[in-house]
Symmetry: C5
Subunit: 354 residues, 5 copies
């Protein structure tokens, strides 16, 4: 349940905007790295004291400050104060069960996203909150753990691959969001393979364990869907944002990543439909099998119970039972039994039970 | 059913706006407290006579008048007359089965909310109606019972914590609404734990009682959802209200609490989906188990009924039954029985019934 | 089915606007009463000839003409001609299976509503069509039967209770509509009690008759919902109507009754959800019980059928059956039977079938 | 399936606008009738050669040209050329599986509708495509078969009944559409009676055939709904069309027929809900009955199988079975059997199985 | 699963707009054909080197460049560079799992569609991505395989059939899209026949294999629907596009093909409803049959098990069993058995089980 709701109750009664970490503490120490670049210059460093990264705010180059670990109020507070962020935004950064959303703050845009990952061991999707603040010439990003999702972006900046070094902080923000959305595709591919595997097992050998797996995957879909829907809204918002921070040329990129979220949603819905279909298939094959079992039972019982009765009758010990004395009595009765049995079989064949 | 519909029938035929308490009477005596503050001054008192709080209306400080108990028409009427509230609003305050709604009255804004609580004993959610009237420099709040939900707000005002003493009545109204919405999170956490517990029990030991608990929780979800949907509308209305009463700087706070209601709704929907999934899991495991029971019955009956028939045949008392005289007849028949039984077992194994 | 569709086929091929009563004729004679009032004057009379009420049209006082019985084309036609109503409106008044709707005719507003009542004997909701025409200084109302739903309104006018005598025809129309919507609450309270009763019976003694009652209530909900949805549209239309006929001060009253229809709709939806939940509960408890029955059968059959077979074997009449001669044969066999039976019981206990 | 999709594949690869009949050919020869009228004049004739009706286009009177049979490209083409219709419109007229739609062509309005009929023999709804082109002073109508649905309209024109002779082609178009919508009511009444009948049978004698009838009716509802939805859109379009062809005074008539389509839709949805409810009722009564059957089986088996076992034990042929020798052995055993049987009965009564 | 999601993971971490083929490589070599025409001139050629087709860009005639095979980045890149396409568009062209979409690029319009085909062998729908770029006087089309879907269009251009040679590139783009939408009708006809066949089999002989076929068709419907919904959006976008590239006269054609997509969607939804209905029918007939089987079993068991017990009693070997000595004992018992059996039959008849 930890997945659906952070322990907000601890914050109850506090003044809104009070900074306090809500969620699981995933790293020991906050780690801050700064990348500062323009088309010609590039600088990357890990800062010890937070204040080291402040001077970059006022340079004309693009500055990307990445913070791993959001549990330390003092760090978040000082950073927020320097970059002029509203206390509620800082509170959102530290409350790691946020729903994806976008807030246009005028001089900066605040975006919360959820980074998904498929945990093979627990067989469930885990998510991590990622906050991005995009300013006129800087981007701040906040992660709960020092994941490697942003490494490709870093690499592209370092090696000046593509157009990233030529464009501004809006393109950098786009690149970060794009790498988050790409992770959804990875998770979906992984789940897709699982569904495909299940589907085959269902045809070849419908076992009971499959049921639990189908239900488990359905649950993951509920969960995934819950985080994709607001993600789509965020990207729709960014696409239509009338903010001076997003240049017109970057618009097409945001449109592109918006299309990706729609594709993710489509796939999630299709998977849901497929899983429901599989469940239906499974249940109706169970019901079919039950029917078959019942038929076997009925055939056996219907043939042999009456015959046993006949045998029982002639097993009675009455003194005066004329048939018992007949020379061919036994053979007559056995003959009658065989005929009756065959008659039953014919009847069942006609009724298509055999 | 008391939860879904107050006894409005008592009011039938009365002129609209006639004041009459509709609902359960929860307190004996109406209790009125006044808090009056600005950045520097603070005054808190419980008034005996209603009229004592009237002078505060015209001071420049922020005045918060809290009324516990809404069953007394005379109190509500005099207060309404003094603060110039429409009779229909007064009627709404006294009819404690209102749907959350917001009404912009020009010189004040009227808001109805429902405060939720989870009653552990009855195992159901109880709600209480809370009305808030926000004026240019006062806030009136009406509760059915003197609950402690507003205590943290009072405390923040008393101790001048956060920004509450620096801001106006719109921020106070926000703080009250925020504490109502926070309660939804508490209830959801409580229900989430229950669902988590149920889910585990479902895996380890699917008992029949679980079914009733799942159905019970589903019902609570229907109920919760019914009060969250209009709450969201209220907050959306407040967020977009073009009222001079709500200052621009307070806008971000209303947006924040609006985001919280969306998160509440999301969680309610997720819980509903999870409970439906659990019900499906339970029912299909029941069906699986039934299938297993049927198989055992069928196997036993199919093996032994025909063999019993054979035994019955040789238990008949006919005079002339040649097999009975044979030296090895008994052993032949028993041998045949063993073979037939084993054949059945092999057949069932092949059919994967065993 | 009479409830879902009047016999419109009788009208097929007639020119639109041709007056002809469609529906059940519920009263013998059309009865017309006139109430004429302003703040100071009051006059109430039952008119014999329709024309008697015509002079009131041009007085400055508010005139309310109520017509009980809509089956007589001549009455409707003359009234319509005098008050300048479009033939299609007259046709709608006489076709008593109309969907609630509102039509702004410029110099008057035409409203169709359905008055609901719960018929205890037939155990179903019955509805009656009520048409209201609101003009600049008159209100015409048309009912199928002389019901007593409007009596409280009449009474308030007679006794000058509340503000009704001070306000115009728009407030009168509101009062009539409000009394129609109030009836929905009465019906819902009645149904709510039934649902509550059913729910309790379901827990204490899930009998088969409950199923029919649940299905019956579900059907009533379908029916109720069908008439509430358009009612809500009508009131939404009235609330936003830009007609000079509705004064601004009356707006808040229409908004209030609109809120009531939303509450009715909410309750209908909640009842539907609750009934669906009850049906699910009932069906799963049936399925549970079936499972239990099957287990008892399986346990009995699985224990005794094999044992009977053993007894059958030693009941065979072969000449040479060594065991039969043994001194302790009988006791050995009975002992084996007891042990086998106990073994089975242990097995079932382990499988949690007992 | 012919009902859901015409054989469009035959047209594949042809240039759009190529005239070719798609659908079943229902009449041999195209039949064209002309009615030309104004308030004073009236002329009706069946034309042999298409060109005979051309002169009417330019008269000031209203001209209604009705074409029965749309399979002949040459007729449609020449008519289209003379009345200046777009080739795509002509193609639509000849493709008789069109979805109802409206196209405002500037100098004329093109409307496709589906005329429904209930075929008692096939027990299904059949539809026929009807196209209407409304011009400044003419109306063209195209039917697949010379049905009698328009006869009442013709009659009203002939006899100058109602207002039809006084008004223009827009009123004529309305009258035609109205007669199409009226047919939906007829079909719904027919289906309503069937549903009512089924519902009664379901209570008195739930037979297996009912299931097929319910499913059949559900299918008809799917089909009916599919053609009502777009019909509603068409009428909504007409109602809001800003075309000079539709006079303001005719507006109220289109609004009226729009209300009728909403009523049709409502009824279709209600019928669907009722049929679903009936299916649920049927299935749960089947399940109830199964439960009852199982109980009888279990009671019988549980009482007699153990008793038979006891009888089997004393039917064994061991030499040394002391009980057999006892004087009262038989009576003791029979007594025990009776007691055990009664005990079982008491147990089942207590468990409410009997 | 290949159908639901291309292997996007291979592209992870690359700069957006990096050209790389994502999807199955379906042809060996890219094949490029050029058709250049106006009302009088016509030229068709297959180019060897891509650059051969560049000069056509600047001619005043309409140029259609068709590319079969999108796996070669160099081809797509050079073409894109010459026709000034955004790198993201080129990326979309090469990623063959795109959702249908439209992008107005100002000087050209980019459209992605999915061409459907029904693969009889695999019994599933296959889709292929088709991209169309419409410029001021050229159309570029990209297919994965050199299919023959566009042959009719080519033919119409070659033979100057219809109006295609007289109109511009917007009409050509329409013609291509129209031929894609036509394919949906073909696939639906094929599926419709299958559904019709299944429906008949369901009535005549409800076998277990039908279940798999119904589930299979339902799955195809999920899949088809997934590609029709965005197709409809694309065409809606084109219809309302305010681009100078689409002439007003072509508008009606886009509206027409939009109507076709709605018809496709309607049919898909109807098929889904029909398949759900068939599944319900199948499952309830299975349940009915199970009920019947259970009844036979119960009747047989209920008649013969008690009678067998009676026979068992008189088969006991007690020394003192007075009845056994009676002269008519045997006949009395047999007579009682016959009567009891008949009594049971009468009871079952009365209960309608036989």
């Amino acid at each position: 349940m930890a997945r659906t709701n952070g322990k907000r109750s601890r914050k109850r009664g506090l003044s809104p905007g009070t900074l306090m970490h809500v969620g699981e503490k995933k790293v020991e120490k906050t780690r801050i790295t700064v990348i500062d670049y323009d088309e010609k210059n590039f600088l990357e460093e890990e800062v010890e004291a937070l204040e080291e990264c402040f001077p970059f705010r006022d340079t004309s180059t693009v500055t990307w400050i990445n913070v791993d670990g959001v549990h330390d109020p003092s760090v978040i507070e000082r950073l927020g104060a320097y970059f002029n962020l509203h206390p509620l935004i800082l509170e959102d950064i530290m409350t790691t069960s946020q729903r994806p959303k976008m807030e246009d703050l005028g001089d900066s845009i605040y975006i919360v996203l959820r980074m998904v990952e498929y945990d093979e061991k627990k067989r469930q999707i885990t998510t991590e909150q990622m906050s991005v603040v995009m300013g006129p010439n800087y981007v701040l990003s906040f992660q709960e753990t020092p994941g490697d999702s942003f490494d490709p972006v870093r690499d592209r900046i370092r090696k000046a691959k593509g157009r990233i070094r030529k464009l501004g902080p809006d393109y950098l923000a786009y690149a970060l969001i794009d790498s988050v959305v790409d992770n959804y595709f990875l998770v979906l591919e992984r789940l897709g393979e699982k569904i495909e595997g299940l589907e085959e097992s269902l045809v070849t050998e419908p076992k009971r364990e499959l049921l639990h797996e189908i239900h488990g995957l359905k649950r993951e879909m509920i969960f995934l869907r819950k985080s994709v829907w607001p993600l789509r809204e965020v990207l729709n918002g960014l696409q239509h944002a009338e903010s001076a921070l997003i240049k017109e040329t970057t618009g097409i990129f945001f449109r592109d990543v918006y299309d990706h979220t729609i594709q993710v949603m489509d796939t999630v819905e299709t998977f849901r439909d497929m899983l429901s279909g599989m469940l239906e298939t499974y249940l109706s094959s169970i019901s079919n099998r039950m029917n078959e079992v019942m038929k076997v039972l009925t055939i056996i019982a219907t043939i042999f119970i009456p015959l046993s009765f006949v045998a029982g009758v002639y097993g009675m010990n009455f003194k005066f039972m004329p048939e018992l004395e007949w020379r061919w009595g036994y053979f007559l009765v056995v003959g009658f039994m065989v005929l009756a049995g065959l008659g039953m079989v014919v009847y069942f064949k006609k009724k298509k039970w055999m």
